[in-house]
Structures are given as C-alpha cells and as structure tokens.
C-alpha cells in the first residue's frame, strides 16, 4: 500500500491541537449544552446542527490510565508510556501522561492538556501534564 502524503492536515483534529499549543483550547457544544470533540457537523448526542466552540476548562481530572509496554510500531521508542483518559467536564479525552513517573500517576490527579512530539515518529501527540499546584494552570 502507498504511504500517505506528508503534511496533509486533518481538519478539526489538527486545528484542535493548534489551539492547545496556542493556549486557547476549546470544545464544541450544541444548544442542548452537550460537549464533544471536533470534527463534527452535528451533536453526536442529540443531532443538533447548532454547533459552536466554547472555551475548554483549564484543568481536568484523570479518570483512568494504563502503562503500555507493548506498543504499535508507531510508538515503539516511546514505550513504556502512560496513556490516560481525563475528564474536563463537558468532554473527556485521551492522551499521554508526561513529566511524571508511571509509579506516581494516580486516578484523581489534576491535569492540563498539552501537545508533545512522539519519540518514535516526531508526530504531534495529545498529552496531559500534572498540575502540582492550583496556580500552575
């Protein structure tokens, strides 16, 4: 199979990573106030086409995590790494937990979103940083 062309952006997703990098993270919401991630034309919960961006809460709470030792080839050099799901209120999302030893990661940790580079591919990866104090975020 042929390789995908380099540097073709994914609408919605890459825009969202840009927003995290620019310090202006957002989520999408509808008239019923459901929260969801882009790219979306309609709310996946109620089907409303009234979709607007809204500022993402600055911090989230880590809900669950895993230390992955056996990775796909695209994360080979990153392994072992911690993947987590964090709850930001209107939305949850999944990312790598960085700058924290795997043994110190725990459910309930306060985290902020970030974007890092994969050690294996150099591609951008959604990440969570631990907020050690309330003023850090």
């Amino acid at each position: 199979m042929s390789e995908q062309r380099d540097h073709v952006r994914d609408d919605g997703f890459d825009d969202w990573l840009d927003a995290i990098e620019n310090g202006e993270p957002y989520y999408l919401t509808c008239s019923e106030e459901h929260g969801f991630l882009p790219p979306r034309h309609v709310c996946p919960a109620c089907g409303s086409a009234d979709v607007e961006p809204a500022p993402l809460p600055a911090t989230g709470t880590l809900e669950t995590f895993t230390v992955t030792s056996v990775s796909t080839p695209t994360f080979e050099d990153d392994a072992p790494y911690v993947v987590a799901i964090a709850d930001f209120g209107p939305v949850r999302f999944t990312g790598l937990v960085v700058e924290r030893d795997a043994d110190d990661v725990e459910i309930g940790m306060t985290v902020e979103p970030d974007v890092v580079s994969s050690e294996t591919t150099g591609e951008r990866v959604l990440a969570f940083r631990w907020c050690s104090t309330s003023w850090c975020c």
């Binding site: 991630l37 996946p44 995590f65 992955t68 056996v70 796909t72 999302f93 990866v125």
Partner: protein
C-alpha cells in the same frame, strides 16, 4: 416469521497457521459446515462472510465472492465488517433474511489470517478498530483500551488483578478438551500474575492470542429443514445489536458496556426469554476484564459482581452457568472475523451434545453468544435454543 435452524457447523483449528490464506481456511470450515448440514451446495442461496483485517493482512478486499468460490458455491456473496464482531454481523443478517422468508439456505461464516503479521503490525492493524484521531494517535492499543476499562472498573467497583486472573485460568481449563483451541494448556493464577505486563493492569495471560482460523454455519428455514429431514435441533431464536460511540472517552461509562446491555435486552426480548433462563454462554473475552463487563451487561451477574464469578465458581465448567466452555477467545483463540460465527458453532455443538464439554450442560436448552467489536462500540448477541 420463519424459525432459523442451525443445520451445520464447521470450524478449522484456531492457532498459528501463518501460511494458511483466508480462502483456504474458509474452504475447510465451509466444507465441514455443508457436510454437517447435509445440504446440496446448489441449494445455498447466498454467502454472508465476516472479516476485519483482509486489506492489511492479505492485501485482499472484496472477499465475499472469493469465499463463495472457496466454498464451491455459485451464489451472490458479500463481506461484513464490524471489527471483532465481524463474525456475528453476517449471522444477524442471515437470521433476518430467513425470518423474512427471503432465503431458505444461507452459508454464513468468517475467517481471519493474523499471524503472518508481526506482533507489532498485528497490534497496529487491530488498533484500527479504535478512533484513529483521538485514540490511536494518543498511543492507545487494544490491550491499552481494555486496561483503561479495567482500572476504571477497579476504581469504581473494586476488584483486583488476582480476580481477573481466575477468568483466564477458567477459560484455559475449559479449552483443555477442545482440540481446536489455540491453547490447550492449563495455567495457574500465579502464571497470570507473574506474566509480563502488556498494558497495566493487564498482562500477557489476561489477553487472548493472535490467531488464524475460520468458522462457518449453514442456516436454514424451519420449513427447509423439515422438508429435507435435516438433523437441525438447535434454532437461533433471538438476535440483538447495540452500539456506542467509537472512542472510549466519549462513552457515558468507562467500566460498563451499554452496547452489550442494549444488544442483550433486544436479543432476550426477541427470543422471549430472560437472562435467568440462560444455561450456558459464550461471551467476548478478548481480555479478562471483557468477560466481566459482558456478563454484567447481559444481566448474568449483578453490576460489580462479575469480577468474582470465575473465582467463586459460578461461571466455571461445574458452575451453575458455565461461561466460555469452548475456552473463549482467551484460550480457544481470536481470529477476529471468525470469532462470532465460531461462538455459535460451539454453542450449537454444546446443545446438540456433540461438543467435548457437552456433558457439563446435559440439560441445557437455552444459550447465548455475545460478540463485541472494538472496545464494544458494537455488540451483537444471539440466543440459541433446543427446539426439536
């Protein structure tokens, strides 16, 4: 509405057969099913076939006609894909067609070739069942996704790796007499706990193997079975499918399986039975935690108590309601596109009395299969009953 009879079942051994193409695997399974049913190939009206990874593992799309050819059947054919539920999707479709009166004889099945890929490439291929943008690109593997659910379960309901280990031990025990199982090897709780971690808290022995294999069924209408005097005592009396958002983080629950609950409720309603009537079940145990989530969502165990079912003997071979007497995906193996069909083949054999473990469910009349796609964004449940 026409009753759907399981007239014939066929399975290849599940295991590491890297050199066997899916067309060759399906040729074997379909020949067994057609022989078992004792129907003429010319009577087969359509072939419904499940497969997930064909493009990635064999560079082969458009597998429907190829598999009809392999089965020696001149009939229209199509492939069904629902990730790890790819083997149940065509069964559900076949049930609907026979019930509607559109068809009388259908060849249904699935196959997967996986061990010709490296472990890394197979892991990457399987991960395509998750959300590419929001999960795979964040480093989620399939063991990783189920590990996220396992830790969320422990945090919500309690439980431990040791309790999960009993699920693996049970299913390996069940597979000891199943000569087609990928692993016919007893393991101890300590083996599971000491095995290398794949994605904590899940280790190597919490995970099903990467397997090759195929499964096939001949499904007929009741009238065709009677007219042709077929030995088809088992019917598929209920079918149900449930869906959920693709990415785990978009779900309402991280430690429950609503898609399975919806599929189960629909299948129970369709068959006119309750969960209490299920004598034996084959459920999707790609990882040990998956079996726990499945039996809870199917109302075979209360929420939060599925974790102790294997340890306390409720789902073991001599328990009140054995689960995964075939060995399950965990020990029988999980050639993805074949799994759902194989579950039905195993249950039909158990109910007919010609399965190595039939003696443990001698009085069983009602059974259930549960097959999940991805991290259970798709769930398909079937109810099988002895009717003749």
């Amino acid at each position: 509405m026409s009753e759907v009879r399981v007239a014939g079942v066929g399975l290849t051994p599940f295991g590491e057969y890297a050199e066997r193409t899916t067309r060759e695997l399906f040729a074997e399974a379909s020949a067994s099913a057609i022989d078992d049913a004792d129907v003429a190939r010319t009577d087969v009206e359509e072939v419904l076939y499940g497969n997930f990874l064909g493009e990635l593992s064999e560079r082969q799309g458009h597998q429907g006609p190829l598999m009809a050819e392999a089965a020696g059947v001149q009939a229209p054919a199509a492939r069904y894909e629902a990730a790890c539920a790819s083997g149940s999707a065509p069964v559900r479709e076949a049930v609907k067609r026979i019930r509607s009166g559109e068809s009388d004889v259908l060849l249904v099945g699935g196959a997967e070739r996986m061990t010709n890929l490296t472990t890394g490439d197979a892991t990457e291929a399987l991960a395509t069942a998750a959300d590419d943008l929001w999960e795979v690109r964040a480093g989620v593997t399939f063991p990783g996704a189920y590990a996220l659910m396992a830790r969320a379960y422990f945090d919500t309901y309690g439980g431990s790796r040791e309790a999960l280990a009993h699920v693996a031990v049970k299913n390996h025990e069940h597979a000891l007499s199943n000569e087609r199982a990928h692993h016919q090897q007893a393991i101890a709780v300590s083996d599971v706990l000491e095995a290398p971690q794949i994605s904590s808290p899940l280790g190597l022995y919490d995970s099903c193997p990467i397997s090759d294999g195929a499964a096939a069924l001949v499904l007929t209408s009741e009238s065709y079975a009677e007219e042709h005097d077929l030995d088809a005592s088992v019917a598929i009396t209920g079918t149900g499918q449930g869906g959920d958002r693709l990415a785990l983080h978009d779900r309402e629950f991280l430690a429950r399986s609503p898609a399975t609950r919806r599929a189960g409720e629909r299948a129970y309603d369709d068959a006119g039975i309750s969960a209490d009537e299920v004598d034996v079940a084959e459920v999707h145990d790609c990882f040990t935690i998956a079996e726990v989530l499945a039996i809870e969502a199917l109302d075979l165990e209360p929420i939060g108590e599925g974790i102790s079912a294997a340890r306390d003997g409720r789902t073991t071979i001599d328990g009140d309601r054995p689960v995964n007497l075939s060995g399950g995906l965990k020990a029988k193996g999980h050639p993805v596109g074949a799994t759902g069909t194989a579950q039905i083949a195993e249950i039909a054999a158990l109910l007919r009395g010609d399965h190595p473990n039939s003696e443990y469910v001698e009085d069983a009349t009602t059974a259930l299969t549960h097959n999940a796609g991805g991290t259970v964004a798709t769930a398909i449940v079937h109810v099988l009953e002895v009717v003749a």
